[in-house]
Symmetry: C2
Subunit: 192 residues, 2 copies
């Protein structure tokens, strides 16, 4: 038998993800990646693949991690309303504390428009997120914590839409207070 793979792939993917996250897809070179991953050029191509395949694994890992943290966070809350408030205010906190911006947004606007493969996986991931949020909204409606004349899916979409806007605002202005205000405005708004 022969020698077996020694490096931890997930660990390397995470390092690559951070580079893409910081610089964006096109501005990241393979040189940047091998430097950051501390992996051999050959090993990278043999085990993971080319730049595009590596990127796909990165955004996959990015979404899985985020989704996992979200579910864990929600499960700790007692009511659906409290869960929504927690998710929204935490999102606002995350935006102002993460100097790299959001990899999902960068990918949506830089790559997704012209890359069908990336767009499809981003679209699917987004659907999963929206659906999850919609179930919480629906629960809040069922429990009488929220106005239920509105569609739960639309409300979830409204929340997600707001997140996107905040991220752009913070890139341009870097004003934490503005983000905080907008998150409070959103919370006030969805609970009538």
């Amino acid at each position: 038998m022969a020698r077996c793979v020694e490096f931890n792939e997930v660990e390397k993917i995470e390092k690559a993800m951070n580079v893409f996250w910081e610089k964006g897809y096109n501005a990241t070179s393979m040189q940047d990646l091998v430097d950051a991953m501390q992996i051999n050029r050959s090993s990278l191509y043999n085990t993971i693949g080319d730049k595009h395949q590596l990127f796909m694994k990165c955004i996959g890992n990015y979404f899985d991690t985020a989704m996992c943290e979200l579910k864990e966070k929600v499960s700790k809350e007692t009511s659906a309303k409290q869960a929504l408030i927690k998710v929204i205010s935490d999102k606002a906190d995350w935006i102002v504390s993460c100097d790299k911006g959001c990899l999902g947004m960068k990918t949506s606007f830089e790559i997704a428009p012209e890359d069908t493969i990336v767009r499809n996986v981003m679209s699917k991931n987004n659907d999963i997120f929206i659906e999850f949020m919609a179930t919480i909204v629906q629960k809040a409606m069922d429990d009488g914590e929220m106005d239920d004349t509105e569609d739960a899916a639309l409300m979830a979409e409204y929340i997600a839409t707001s997140f996107t806007g905040w991220k752009q605002s913070y890139i341009l202005h870097g004003n934490p207070i503005k983000i905080k205000k907008m998150s409070e405005f959103l919370i006030k708004n969805i609970f009538k």
Copy 2:
């Protein structure tokens, strides 16, 4: 005396803008630009400058044109409320009809995070837009067409934030109905 510049600079800038708009900054090569602009490589560098300077002129032109159209559109409406409704629903229509996406958003997420010069001009442009929207909101409040317990600037920010979210949604899902619904939801929301 000598020969003078023959090509119309603004006209050329617009052609370059369309390339950046479609492909994004990093994915656009100088070759793409000279091809589209139908201008000489040397003339480009002599009269306009390098890639970055050309891009700056493009986003400047992009914003000026958009702002001009916006003001003209608003001036044609009879009331502030009607102006807001018109701006919002037209924005929704524009998003679903423009297959290139939005150059402003692409720039915000791809370039602005790591390019101070671009970020500053984008930030300033955004401020101008928000301020303009805020004046209309304020007028609607003063005229009793809107609930005036909320801050006009925050309401303007809320509207702009929504636009950003719709743009991302449309890139990923390409669903015109969804955009339409969200725009109707926004209109319903801001007029209580």
